[in-house]
Structures are given as C-alpha cells and as structure tokens.
Amino acid sequence: MHIPDGLIATNEPTSLTIAIGMWIVTIAFLGWSWKKAKTTYSRSITALLAISSAFVFAAQMINFPIAFGTSGHLVGGTFLAVLLGPHAAMLSMTIVLLMQGFFFADGGILAFGMNAFNMAVIGGLSFFLIKLLTRGSTESKRLIPSVFAASWLSVMVGALLAALEISPAFAGGVAVTMPSMLFYHAIIGLGEGAITAVLISSIQRMQPAIMGGLTLLKEKTKL
C-alpha cells in the first residue's frame, strides 16, 4: 500500500495539505519513538534491529497473489513490533520505507509522511493492541491469535488511512477509495496475519531468547 507521489497533486491544496500534514505528524511520532527507544532498552538491540529490518525489506519484495488479479505483500509492522517493541519497530520500518522510496521509487518522497504513518507508526502501535489482547501473557496460545488479529487490523487501519489520503486524486473521492481499499486489504491482511503468526510462532519455538519485544509486553510500559 505504498502511496506513490504520482497520486499527490502538488497544485491541489487538499492533496498537498494532507501530504505535508502527514509528514509533520509522522515526524512527531518518530521523535517520540526515538526518545523512548533510547531509554527503553537495557541492552543493545542493534543486531536484532538491523537483521529484522533487512528481512522485512526482502519479504516486502515478494508479492503473493490474492483473488481478482491482485496481489499483496507482507508489511511486517506487527512482526517488528513483537520482536523489537513499539518504538524501535517504528524506527526500523521507517528505514525500510526510506530506502524503498529513495532508491527504488516504491512509495513517494512527498508521500513519505503518509506511508511512514500508515505502515511504520501503525505497525508499531499494533504492539499495544497485542498487549491488550494478551494481557501481558507471552504464552503462545494467547500470543499467536493476538498477533494474527493485530497484524490484520494494522493492515486495515493502514489501508483506511491510505484511502483517505489518496482520495483527492479520485473523482469519486472517499466514497470510492474507502470501500475498495478496505475490500482488497481485508484479504491481504489475512496474508499478513498468517505470515506474521507463523514467523512469530517459529521464532518463539526455536529462538525464544531473541524475542526482545516480549519483555516489553509483560512490563507495565507507559506510552
């Protein structure tokens, strides 16, 4: 759901205002997560952060087909949130999106604020939904269904925001972007949920020690 700059009309006030507004909101969230990330982790998470970000970049390249001649791919925001906690996950996903936009023109530069909010910020925030659903338990029979639900919802919320953000480019406005974006992403979200659930459950089984975010799940972390 990377929004390209081609959908933002620079000569159209609404479109431009939304793009700039989302840049500002995103910077505020990233500033907050940066501040928190520097104080939250008692030990260095450098290796885990670098490798999981690299994996998410690679995984995003692999589109899986859904119905109707349409495809989707993993976003990985919830995956990163479970591994790294909400704050580092936002920063991690932001660097993935930054490289995609700058080097590969996957997602625009002007649209970067929107994309980073829809995927990085929402992905990171999905951590708090998992926390709510599991009530801090890391037992897999609670954790895995919660991870699935949070992954699906993170894609749906991202799609909903994208639908609003791109609506100025559509003659029909929100009335056409909203139902169609939510329709396709309800299906793509199932892929997101399934892949994230399998990844997290495998890591938890094979390498429980690296699930750094889980300790934050148990803690009474404040926003």
Partner: protein, 94 residues
C-alpha cells in the same frame, strides 16, 4: 556473529528462491488506482533502481535479485547505524 551471518545468508537465499515466484499483479492500492482510471502524474523523483530493477542488466531475474540484495544490505547497514545511535546512554561502557 556467525549466527547473524547465517540469518543474513538465509535472507539472500529466500530472495533468490522467491523472486521468480512473486506475483506481478498490481497490489491492492495499484488495483484501486487502475479500477477507477486515475492518471498518476509524473513524479519528481524516480529512484535509482525504479521498480526493483537495475537498468543495465537485461535478465529480469538477475536484475531484480541484485536490486533486492543491494536493498537488503542497505537496510541492514542503516539498521546497524540506527541501533548504534540508539544505544542507551546509561549503559556501562564495554
């Protein structure tokens, strides 16, 4: 360290195996744009390897794979940098 290198190698293998299998259909957002016939205007920035392809390489598989490997290493590097900068100040020096 070796464990880390093994995971990075596994990501490369993952790319090599899955790139040919990836769907080339439009994604959800692209589909919506196509359905309603929205014309995208020309963006001011076209990236360096637009659409995950290296122009100089004719073979699409090799081109995408190399772009993917390059991007993965780039993100890895950026992640290492970010992680280093994020290191808690209170931590006892090593």
């Amino acid at each position: 360290m070796n464990k880390h290198l093994a995971v990075i190698a596994a990501i490369m293998v993952f790319l090599a195996v899955f790139i040919p299998l990836a769907s080339s259909s439009p994604d959800g957002l692209e589909r919506v744009v196509e359905t309603f016939g929205v014309e995208e205007h020309t963006p001011f920035w076209n990236g360096i390897m637009s659409d995950y392809a290296i122009e100089a390489i004719a073979d699409p598989y090799v081109s995408t794979l190399l772009a993917g490997v390059f991007g993965t290493l780039l993100v890895l590097l950026a992640g290492l940098l970010l992680g280093k900068m994020m290191k808690p100040k209170t931590q006892v020096s090593e």
